[in-house]
Subunit: 307 residues, 2 copies
């Protein structure tokens, strides 16, 4: 089944303790699409500038990603620069140049309209809502957001949250959104805002999914997936979007949505995040095989599995 | 089988977002002993002052803990005050009064000398080494330490680490001890210092055990146990020591030390930590039943278990 991913395509300039990368292809939609492409058909809606070449586009098309929804505008592509020198868990932004992304108005190609799944990457909540409302037939919508929208556009975000089935955010975003320092309580509060399930991403410690009572007919006990202890995190950029891609991609690849599928999806999310950080930019996500992915899934499983 | 626990008995004054407790029984040896008492016979070596009454002692003896190794000295018991108002994961110390603990010289009663297991709670590494050398027949030694000893007594700590089989510390202590920001690399480095296994406690995210190559004949893949998302952490004091008590207690209750036992021990560590934080001080650890403990073990297992 197919997933539409709506979000940013960007060129990132990244410095980490392992090195430096200049203007490499990135953006939430890119990481998500590449990660999800190993599981399902992925269709991207984004905007790029004149500096986005056929070669850049081929990074996506080589993985079978449908790029007909990427609009080419006059000007430059969104550019971001950041560093993780002091803390691999949090980027320090050096610069943000929105460029063509500033006026991004997602347009869904007619050929995309039969998609069953939708992922709203981290963009303005009003745009997220508009896309979701336009795609009235999607079966399941995943979404992301960030501190900026939580703080500055709370009303718009509330609207979006009513339209999202599974929200994927991190610990701090969850607590900030719920104005509640206890994570389980914050999660419960977020689940009253619309989403049926909330995936809280813990970075190097994995992720927890919380369910609304009776969600997907599977009860309300949370579930946790670990993250792999990785010796050298070369570049954490895109780990969360890759997680979302693995999670949503696996969900979209299954015929049924039950607790076991969602649990496995959470593990696959961790798997794709773990690959993403092994190289700078999207490099590692471009050349994986499903065999490598499933081998790592087994490693993740063994990591916490009691007989 | 029996475990000797050597460490502090204290009176703690604690403030958390859930309330306040004044001069309640605490200390690493106390939390460890109570948690381990549900699995194995526990014998404590500690020092207390004249303010430590028969009623205080009965908290331990009611759980079957052997207190013959608790020395009663003139003066006051070790007192600590701290608060967790801003951060439940890290205490802000209000005061530390070492009192009789300042001159603590652990003395092992002859009746303790047939113990198979030893836990060296967080005390001066020179005292830890002396105890371990005196108890030459113990089968397995677990140990804890803290930033203070890592920074100020590195040579003494190196000596202790050669005598410890399983070291149980947190993420920051591991990175600090190894002078290495990557946790898996830091863990590998710590394992060259003596311990056969290293348990890294991640607080609300569980714990990971790293093994030296070929440790216990079980290979060297790490293993992770989750922590339960707890709605209201009333008082985090003693969570790490309770974790150690559950871990070591379960290990001591088994006839064999294999990978499966160690994995289960890591889960039981998390279980005992999760009970400890539900009430102020040691209250929750005083009245548990093995049935409650095993029920929560199942909850922990379900939390990450894939079919």
């Amino acid at each position: 089944m197919s997933i539409i991913a709506v979000g940013s395509v960007a060129f990132d300039t990244i410095t980490t303790p392992s090195g430096h990368a200049d203007s490499v292809l990135g953006g939430a939609a890119t990481y998500f699409a590449l990660a999800a492409s190993y599981f399902a058909e992925v269709r991207v809606v984004a905007v790029v500038g004149e500096d986005f070449t056929a070669e850049h586009e081929s990074v996506l098309t080589k993985r079978g990603v449908d790029t007909r929804g990427i609009e080419h505008e006059k000007g430059k592509t969104f550019r971001w620069g950041g560093q993780y020198l002091e803390n691999l868990n949090e980027a320090k932004t050096d610069f943000t140049e929105l460029n063509v992304f500033e006026k991004f108005q997602p347009r869904i190609p007619p050929e995309y309209k039969d998609s069953e799944f939708l992922f709203l990457a981290n963009i303005h909540p009003t745009l997220q809502s508009a896309v979701r409302l336009e795609l009235s037939d999607v079966k399941l919508t995943g979404g992301d957001t960030m501190n900026y929208w939580i703080r500055d556009t709370p009303a718009e975000l509330r609207e979006t949250l009513r339209l999202v089935n599974i929200l994927l955010i991190n610990d701090n975003e969850t607590k900030m959104l719920a104005k509640e320092p206890s994570l389980p309580r914050a999660a419960r509060k977020v689940l009253t805002m619309g989403p049926t399930a909330l995936v809280v991403k813990h970075g190097e410690y994995g992720a927890t999914i919380f369910f609304r009572e009776g969600a997907f007919g599977i009860g309300s006990h949370p579930f946790r997936a670990p993250a792999l202890p990785i010796e050298e995190v070369k570049d954490p950029t895109g780990a969360g979007d890759s997680f979302a891609g693995g999670f949503m991609g696996y969900v979209a690849s299954q015929h049924e949505l039950n607790r076991e599928v969602i649990k496995r999806a959470l593990f696959y999310g961790g798997v794709m995040g773990s690959f993403a950080v092994e190289r700078f930019g999207t490099e590692r996500l471009q050349t994986l095989t499903r065999k490598e992915i499933d081998a790592r899934f087994q490693v993740f499983r063994e990591l916490t599995h009691l007989e």
